[in-house]
Amino acid sequence: MVAAKVDRTPVGAHYGLKGWLMQRVTAVIMVVFTLVLIGLLISSGDVNFASWKALFRNTAFRVLTLLFLFSLYLHAFVGARDIIMDYVKPAGLKLMLQMGVIVFLVACTIWSVSILWS
């Protein structure tokens, strides 16, 4: 009998590597966006409605903002998962909280797109 090769790694050095890497990559993207945003804030003078609107009409800014927000949501997902895994013991509650986090972040993703492209 040939055993089906299933990639099941409940423990070990590689468990969680993807989440760990995701956390770092998204962090770096957010650092860059934050610095760009600070630069924009310093270079622009007084913000009024017209300039605020114009900023969000700029496609590059929209794309960069959406990239930041996607990174933020993935980062938040990994972070929330880590915290829930550390402090919540009962399996049912843990599952419920993780589902709640996912639903919240998916909703935020849809909301973000609708804000940026409405």
Partner: protein, 132 residues
């Protein structure tokens, strides 16, 4: 092997030291990293999305939010959020640097933890002074 199952675990006394002031500095950076992460997740994300959407919807709403942000108590809350963001940011960079095996020794890690805690407060104070 089979006898191991029969051993009844004696309840051990637990001593949780929940006083944050007794944590080593790196521990303080770590727990604040978690707490600020939760704050940013629960409050900052929905608030930032809502305010951005509302302020873009009309000139009236934009002025409305501008007047809300001019309020001193709101400014204090904003400064609190800025500290959460700045601390999370600085502590995160400390981890990124340590991922590259830089400053891993106990002494250096302690200094970098100190730098993060102080930088969080100093940068927040500077931004707070700017927006006041």
């Amino acid at each position: 092997m089979s006898t191991a199952k029969a051993i009844v675990k004696k309840p051990r006394p637990k001593y949780y030291d929940l006083n944050l002031m007794n944590l080593p500095l790196a521990g303080l950076v770590s727990i604040f990293h978690r707490i600020t992460g939760i704050i940013l997740f629960l409050f900052f994300i929905p608030a930032a999305l809502y305010i951005t959407q509302s302020s873009l919807s009309s000139e009236f709403n934009f002025q409305h939010w501008k007047s809300i942000f001019a309020h001193p108590i709101v400014k204090l809350i904003i400064i609190g959020f800025i500290w959460a963001y700045v601390h999370h940011f600085c502590a995160g960079i400390r981890y990124l640097v340590m991922d590259m095996h830089i400053a891993m020794e106990k002494n250096k890690a302690r200094i970098s933890a100190q730098v993060v805690l102080i930088a969080g407060i100093v940068i927040t104070a500077f931004i707070g002074w700017k927006i006041w």
